[in-house]
């Protein structure tokens, strides 16, 4: 190892948690069912409390997770293959690494989700309190329309995100 590289200091921790939960929305709006998470983003803005921040990230990167404020929860929303189109899966980020069923990137995503999460947790110095909500897709080609199963599952996807947000929301301290 280069001595100079070894001498680099860790990133400074980021400050306060005015944001209770961040929702990181993955996908591409012009890639068929891959756009489903983006589509529910608009309708969720009115349903979620103001201390829940939604952010479109396209392809999830380590930096996206590093910028989640300490103390805040995180919900990652993405489309997926390997599950039935329209089916919704909700997984805790805890234990994602080493799952025997694996979570592999579909195409040119460079790092698998467990690796992205693991790197972010390591660099943050503490585990992320979060969940991933994924909707099974059927068509990921160019185009803005959804397959029928995904179209029918947009409301359940919204509900699953709301539930996931509630489950990762940090506890509010009661009155003294």
């Amino acid at each position: 190892m280069s001595r100079a590289l070894l001498a680099r200091r860790p990133r400074p921790p980021r400050g306060g948690a005015a944001v209770a939960v961040e929702v990181l929305v993955c996908g591409s709006p012009d890639r068929g069912d891959d756009g489903a998470p983006m589509a529910v983003m608009a309708r969720l803005r009115e349903q979620l409390p103001p201390d829940v921040k939604m952010r479109a990230v396209g392809m999830l990167d380590v930096d996206d997770l590093l910028s989640v404020p300490y103390g805040a929860g995180v919900v990652i929303v993405d489309a997926a293959t390997g599950i039935d189109p329209g089916a919704i899966v909700d997984l805790a980020l805890t234990g994602l690494i080493g799952r025997p069923d694996g979570l592999h990137p579909r195409s040119s995503h460079a790092l698998a989700l467990p690796e992205v999460v693991g790197l972010a947790e390591m660099l943050r110095g503490r585990p992320l309190c979060g969940r991933i909500v994924a909707i099974g897709g059927a068509h990921f080609g160019l185009g803005t329309s959804f397959s029928r199963p995904v179209n029918a599952a947009l409301d359940p996807l919204s509900e699953a995100i709301v539930q996931a947000v509630a489950s990762v929301r940090p506890p509010v301290a009661g009155p003294a």
Partner: protein, 441 residues
């Protein structure tokens, strides 16, 4: 590693099937068969679904094409945009402002920085240091992974600054950009580039000290070469055996063909010879045009010849290019003055348009025919990985006998490491394919 299926047939025999290559971009596999020390079969199988971009752009305007081809790959969208826009501008006879030219080069620097940092630190370095993944590497060498992520972020932000967004940027237009950029916008990123240059120079020190597997071969290397700058957006296509043709003339020397084991078309020269593209080719064929800081870094390693002959040294070639791209980015930022207009006006019309640029993984070629209305009549998109595929297979065949005596897991690791040396982007390689079905009944 995962999804491995290994079987040994005894001394001198080796069968390696890596059912799913990890830490390469996209979906591919590797099949290698050696009998009595002789390689019978070396196949890099690319089975990611064909992507019909060459047909998707038919009937579209040049500006639409520039946005569409950026969607071919999330890792190297600039390469597709730059190749397409230069092809159209050359075909239509459009001159661009020198500052537009500089901005495009700056944007391409961002993609090189992001792509090379990702590959060096998160995809390839684990191989050299004996880790299964970047995550495992980070447990013991966190500063190195942080350095890689810092570089990657700097590259992404450079692309986002000029392209409007880091993934699939949207600002490139025929004749220029969709808007002009104030000097203050461009100089705002200088501090980050200075930090990136510092890390890039340390990266060279780091990877120059890695011990690569012993392997030497004489491959035919191909890249662009420009008389006044390190090849990126412009230059002539040259080779290590004397080829020297215009960037528009790829089709006069090379051809694509279909092989049964891959969804990607393979490229060879017209004589059927494989060749290799990428950082090692560029360093070999254009080192005299490196930025002085990059040239100095290369000279200090004393490994230029090894970069040419040992593909495992490609990680060092990428590190040298990291220095080149970050140093040049700073120079461009310092010299930037806003152009008089965002884009040179132009008139749609018929044209034959072709061009080649240098993607992080190597030379990429586009050719388009525009009809009377200026709409695309047909398109040819030749990405670097499909050009490298035959050369990778040739290298695999040369290298495989050296690992016969190793335990199977080590042999597999060495082979995978070799494939990753070319940083294959399988997503890019699987473009439009003419399928034929043979009826054996």
């Amino acid at each position: 590693m995962h999804d491995l299926d290994l079987a040994s047939g005894g001394s001198g025999d080796l069968a390696i099937d890596v059912a799913m290559m990890t830490r390469v971009e996209g979906e591919g596999s590797l099949r290698l068969r050696v009998r009595n020390g002789v390689v019978e079969e070396a196949r890099l199988e690319i089975f990611e679904a064909p992507r019909y971009f060459e047909q998707l752009v038919v009937g579209r305007t040049p500006d639409e094409v520039i946005d569409i081809v950026a969607r071919i790959c999330g890792i190297c969208p600039i390469a597709y945009q730059m190749t397409a826009v230069h092809a159209f501008e050359h075909g239509l006879g459009i001159e661009v402002d020198p500052q537009i030219r500089a901005l495009r080069r700056l944007m391409y620097c961002g993609e090189w920085i992001e792509s090379h940092a990702l590959h060096i630190y998160l995809l390839h370095l684990p191989d050299f240091l004996g880790y299964a993944s970047a995550l495992e590497l980070a447990k013991d060498h966190r500063p190195a992974v942080e350095a890689g992520l810092t570089l990657k972020k700097a590259g992404n932000q450079l692309v986002e600054l000029i392209g409007g967004r880091a993934i699939h940027p949207v600002s490139v237009r025929v004749g220029g950009f969709s808007r002009t950029f104030r000097r203050s916008e461009i100089t705002a990123i200088r501090g980050q580039m200075t930090e990136a240059l510092d890390i890039a120079r340390q990266t060279v020190d780091l990877v120059a000290g890695l011990e690569p597997p012993a392997f030497q071969r004489e491959a035919r290397l191909v890249s662009l070469r420009h008389p006044g700058e390190y090849p990126m957006n412009e230059g002539r296509i040259v080779s290590s055996d004397g080829l020297d043709i215009a960037a528009t003339d790829w089709l006069t020397e090379f051809q694509e063909s279909q092989v049964s084991w891959s969804h990607a078309l393979q490229s060879r020269d017209l004589a059927g010879r494989p060749y290799l593209l990428g950082p090692a080719s560029r360093i070999t064929l254009a080192a005299d045009q490196l930025h002085p800081l990059a040239a100095e870094a290369l000279a200090a390693t004393g490994l230029a010849e090894e970069i040419r002959t040992n593909p495992y040294r490609s990680i060092l070639a990428r590190a040298i290019e990291l220095v080149d791209a970050t140093a040049e980015a700073i120079d461009i930022i310092d010299a930037y003055e806003p152009p008089a207009q965002a884009a040179t006006p132009w008139t749609p019309g018929p044209a034959s348009a072709a061009w080649a640029t240098e993607a992080p993984r190597g030379l990429i070629f586009h050719a388009y025919e525009l009809d009377q209305r200026g709409l695309v009549r047909n398109a040819r998109i030749v990405p670097p990985t499909s050009q490298n595929q035959a050369g990778i297979e040739a290298d695999l065949a040369s290298f495989a006998p050296q690992v016969l005596d190793l335990p199977m897991d080590q042999a597999t690791h060495r082979i995978e490491q070799l494939v990753r040396s070319y940083d294959p982007c399988i997503s890019c390689a699987t473009h439009f394919l003419n399928l034929s079905v043979e009826d054996l009944s």
